[in-house]
Each structure stands twice: as C-alpha cells, then as structure tokens.
C-alpha cells in the first residue's frame, strides 16, 4: 500500500528538442490501478522508468508515501516493471523466473520453492515451475511474468502495455486476472496503454498524456462527461464540436442558441461538445424546438447493436450513434431533427492552435 506522488517530474533526453516528460504532477492513490494513457511517443514508458528508478529525472521529485525516492536505486525502490515483450528471462526455467526476486535477496531454496508454487497457483498455472519459457503460450508467459513481479509484494507495480501482444479474447482474460490479483494484493499499480478502451476497462483513474504533458487526470467516466479540453474530448471519441459564445448558461452558435448549464467557461468564446450517443434523433415534422436543429443524413453505418450516422447541419457535421432500440433506420439523404439535451452539453474553452 503505497501512494506515489510525482511533482514537476521532467525528463529531457540528451539532444532532444523537448522533454519526453514535461513537468508532470500526478498523485497515484494507494492500492488502485492508474492508467497512463496516451499516443505512442508521449512519454509513458519514460514516466514508468522514472518511477522505477531506471532513469534519472532532469528535475522534479518522486515520492512514495511522502518520502522522496530519488536517491533510492532501482533495486531497492520496490517498483517492479513488466513489459509487453521480453517477458521472461529465456535462460531460466519458469520457476527460476518467478523466484528471481527472492533469489537475488538470498532467500533459502525451500522458501523460494514454496513461494514460487504459491505464486503460480495465484496466476492459475500450478505445476509449471520446471518448464522453459519458450514452451509456454503467450498468455501463460504473461501470467508467469505477473507472478514474478508480485512475488515480493512490490510497493508499486508498473505495467508497460502488458497486453498489446495478445489476441483479443486472451487479452480480456488477462485484464480480468490482473484486476483480480491486483485487488487481492492491493498493490498500487500503474498501467501504461495507448488504448483508450483498455484504460477505461482496467483503471480506477486515468492520466491522459500528450507530448510529455499531462492533459487530464480523472476517473474514466469523467473523460466522457466532462473532458478538460477539446483535445481530451477528441481522444475519447467526441468529435462533435460547435464553436460559439456563451453567457448565462446559454451558447449562441451559427446553428442557433442552446441551453447549456454544464460549462467550464462562464462567458465569452466557447466550444459546444456533445457525445455521439447523447444526441437525440428524430424525423422532421414540426420546426425545430428548443435545443433542436434540422439536418440531413450524409452517410450511415448499421452495426447490428447500434447505427452510426454522419449528419450535415449548416456548415457543420455531427456524428450520432443510435442504439438498436431506435425507432427506425434512416437512409442517406433523409432529413432529420437533432436534439441536444441541455444536461448532455459540455462547454469547453476554444482550443488553442
């Protein structure tokens, strides 16, 4: 049970034009799974290595339970890494891999053997201690790597895209296993991924990074309901953006004025966002009412459980997703009426650049 605090954490590689990790402030509560999410190259792995003590920060501090660990070498930090490939030491048996952390602590053979069996039990691979890593499937190797990482009860477990080499259904199994084992041992876990969906499924909180900078830290649902910026909204699949000017809980846009009580901006230029699932959809009959506007279906994809439409309204395009319960399937060219429920609208500051 260790709380990890990063403050102003910065890493500049020699010769790089900008820092790989740029003044990161992050509080990782004890015993939870925290996803570090962001596109490839945004500094996730660098952040993990900084926490593990494998990289020296250019500036900033890392504290475990309030105490700076910058002076503690990697082997004594108790922050254990697991990568997506090169999972296991190929020259050791499965049992030797799992027991490695105990062996380098000079534990007795008997202690190691019994703890190894315990850990293999925990990851549901009993009796495989004498196998060689190459005799195991990818998913089994993953489990062994997890057992090896957890055998000494690390203070922090650092997972770097651990599932990205697995097939989809195997990945679901491993997600469930990691969650179960993590909950059982209550070890503070940082889970790096570039997959937004995976972060949402796995994590208690998500820290979204881009270009070395932290964009937002919050519980997964917050990223859908109230993203901190247009960039965050886009990363989480919200592509419906309508610029305007807001005042008194309303926003005036080129497509009319909308009531919008939820906002980060009280007055002045703002961007209206609304998720594709939140837009209500009906055939045109009467002229558009409050928070409604008329449009036309540009294209649609019917996907069985839902249908996805692209709607043109004035000079703007909106994505709309309707569930299978929707009254009917519209065709390209059909005129439609869109309703933006006020409580689903989220106003953001206009994005810079």
């Amino acid at each position: 049970m260790t709380a990890v605090t990063l403050s102003g954490l910065t890493k500049s590689y020699p010769g790089a034009t900008r820092p790989a990790v740029d003044r990161l402030d992050l509080a990782l509560t004890s015993g939870k799974i925290h996803a570090l999410l962001g596109p490839s190259g945004c500094g996730k792995t660098s952040t993990l290595k900084l926490i593990a003590g494998l990289l020296r920060p250019t500036s900033g501090d890392i504290r475990f339970d309030g105490t700076s660990v910058l002076a503690v070498p990697a082997e004594r930090r108790g922050a254990v890494l697991m990568f997506q490939n090169h999972l296991l030491f190929p020259y050791m048996s499965v049992g030797e891999n799992v027991g490695y952390a105990l062996k380098v602590r000079h534990e007795s053979r008997a202690v190691i053997a019994s703890r190894v069996d315990e850990m293999l039990e925990l990851v549901k691979l009993p009796g495989l201690a004498n196998r060689r890593p190459r005799e195991l499937s990818g998913g089994q190797q993953q489990r062994v790597a997890l057992a090896r990482a957890l055998i000494v009860r690390p203070r922090v477990l650092l997972l770097d895209e651990p599932l990205s080499n697995l097939d989809a259904d195997l990945r679901d199994d491993m997600r469930a296993l990691i969650r179960a084992v993590q909950a059982q041992l209550a070890v503070t876990t940082v889970f790096v991924t570039h997959d937004q969906q995976e972060a949402v499924v796995m994590a208690d909180t998500i820290a979204l990074m881009s270009g070395g900078v932290l964009l937002q830290t919050a519980a997964p649902d917050v990223f859908y309901d109230s993203p901190a910026s247009v960039e965050v909204a886009r990363f989480f699949g919200n592509t419906n953006l309508l610029p305007g000017t807001c005042a008194d809980g309303r926003i005036a846009t080129p497509l009319g004025t909308f009531r919008a009580p939820r906002s980060t901006v009280t007055t002045g230029p703002a961007v209206l966002t609304i998720r594709p699932e939140s837009i209500k959809f009906s055939a045109t009959g009467q002229p558009p009412g409050a928070n409604e506007l008329g449009g036309q279906v540009l294209s649609h994809i019917y996907a069985g459980t839902h249908a996805r439409y692209r709607i043109a309204a004035g000079d703007f395009h909106f994505d709309v997703i309707t569930d299978a319960e929707a009254a009917r399937i519209y065709r390209d060219g059909d005129p439609v009426r869109l309703r933006f429920p006020p409580e689903k609208i989220w106003l953001l500051p206009p994005h810079s650049g």
């Binding site: 082997e75 108790g78 990568f83 090169h86 030491f89």
Partner: protein
C-alpha cells in the same frame, strides 16, 4: 501440437540426398582444413625426405622425441605463451564487454572514429605498431617484461574482441536488465544472471579470437622482449628457419594444437550446435 506426418517416399529420397550432400560438404571442408597439416605431419615423422620423392625415404620418431626432450625448451615455451595469452584473453574480454556495449548499443558523436581507431592497429602493419610501442616501452622500463608483451598483444587481441562484442550488443535488448533491476537485483547480479547468459556465446568467440591472436604473435614479442620471453611461436619460427624440417614439422603441430581444439569448441558457439557432437552422431 501434432506429430509430423510420416514422410512420403519422394520426400524421404530428397531427405537422403540432403544428408548425402551435407556429408560430402563436411568431408570437403575437413580436407580443406586438414590438408595443410598433412605435409607437416609427414615431415614430423620423416627420417630423410628429398625433393623428387613423393614420400620420405625413411621414417623416424626422432623429432617427436626431441620435442618431448626437456632440452628442446618446448614446455617452457608453452608456459610462456600461456602466461601471456591467458591474461591477454581475460583482459580483452573484460575490456570488450563494456567497450563493445558502448559501440553496439549507443549512438554517440565520433563513434565511427572510435571504431576506426580500434581497427587501426590491425590495418597498419604489425611491425610498425610494435616498433612505435617498443620505443615507448624502453622509456618506461616495460621492455623485456611479461607485462610489456601482454600490453603489446592486448592491442590486436582486444580490438578483435571489442568488434565481436560490438556485434553481439548491436542485437541486444537491455529491457530484461531493467526488469531484473526493478525486481531487486543489483548491477552485478543483473550482469551475472541476465546479461552474461545472453552474451555468453559471443563472449566465448571473442575470447577465443583474443587467445589465438596472442598465441600467434611473433614479431611484436621479439621486438619487445626477444631476449627474455621465449614463446612457442618464437621457437617454431626459429625451427622453421633452421635445417631440421622434421623438428619444425613436429613443433608446428604442437603450435597449432590449441587453435584446432579452440576451433572445435568455438564452432559450438558459432553455429549454436556442437559440430563435434553432430559429427559423432552421423
């Protein structure tokens, strides 16, 4: 996993052909490697052998008895050669691991220049290098010492070893080391349990090269310590220059022996499979 299906006759025939070709090529290779030694072998057992004759006119064990005789100085020469080649090998390996790692793993400004400087002593004729070093060594009192000879041999031995290890580290992924450290292993434990097993075959090859290069040195040894250090190669060259061809043949064979032994050991690491075992099985 399913069992492989039993091969059909066509396949079996082509397999047999492959085996035959492989056997043939092995025999050719063996002849290619062994042929140069045959005259040496015949010479070493000859009593009298003059030009037009295809084989010696008489046979004798005399040269081998001479080699075995203490007065031949063969044993002290082997000892001197080993006293130089073994430290050279160990030092080359110790230098080649970090140096090869730096060259193979990292990019840094001037890397090409460093690579060139490492190779340079092998491009410039050895005589020039040794002459240059000799002048410096005379000044520092290293001439005519084992230390001096070891230092001189280290130049070519180490440069080969470094290049071999640079190749090894060019294909090496340090992620496993990071995992090891995070699991609580210190730098030495990580090297011992994770790095060393991964680079071991390459390190063996680099060490064998280093050993053989030192074992072969002649001019450099003579220039630095001709008066005091008498290695086997000096003895062999002296015998070759003398009139006793039988003795020269026998000495040459003794001189070559470690190379052959090491080549057999090294072939295991070069191919990943023990060539010796494969030969024995077929």
């Amino acid at each position: 996993m399913t069992e492989p299906a039993p091969p059909d006759p066509m396949e079996r025939r082509s397999q047999r052909l492959t085996t035959l070709l492989r056997g043939l090529s092995l025999i050719l290779l063996a002849i290619w490697l062994v042929a140069p030694f045959i005259p040496l072998l015949i010479w070493s057992f000859s009593f009298h052998w003059t030009f037009p004759h295809l084989l010696p006119e008489g046979w004798s064990l005399r040269s081998w008895q001479d080699v075995a005789n203490p007065s031949s100085q063969v044993l002290p020469a082997i000892r001197d050669s080993l006293l130089i080649a073994l430290p050279v090998t160990v030092l080359s390996a110790l230098i080649a691991i970090p140096a090869g790692r730096a060259l193979g793993q990292h990019r840094f400004p001037g890397k090409r220049l460093v690579e060139f400087l490492i190779l340079a002593p092998n491009i410039v004729p050895g005589l020039t290098v040794a002459l240059g070093i000799q002048i410096a060594f005379l000044r520092y009192g290293l001439a005519n010492t084992f230390t001096g000879v070891i230092l001189v041999h280290l130049v070519p031995s180490m440069s080969y070893a470094v290049l071999v290890m640079a190749g090894v580290f060019a294909n090496y992924d340090p992620q496993a080391e990071e995992v090891s450290r995070s699991l609580g292993a210190n730098r030495w434990q990580t090297f011992r349990h994770v790095t060393l097993p991964a680079i071991f075959p390459g390190l063996m090859v680099a060490s064998l090269f280093a050993f053989l290069i030192s074992w072969d040195q002649y001019i450099a040894t003579i220039l630095i310590a001709g008066g005091t250090v008498k290695t086997l190669s000096i003895l062999v060259v002296a015998a070759a220059g003398g009139g006793d061809r039988a003795l020269a043949g026998a000495l040459s064979l003794v001189f070559i022996a470690p190379a052959v032994v090491f080549l057999i050991i090294a072939s295991k690491y070069l191919t990943g499979v023990s060539a010796a075992r494969r030969l024995g099985r077929r």
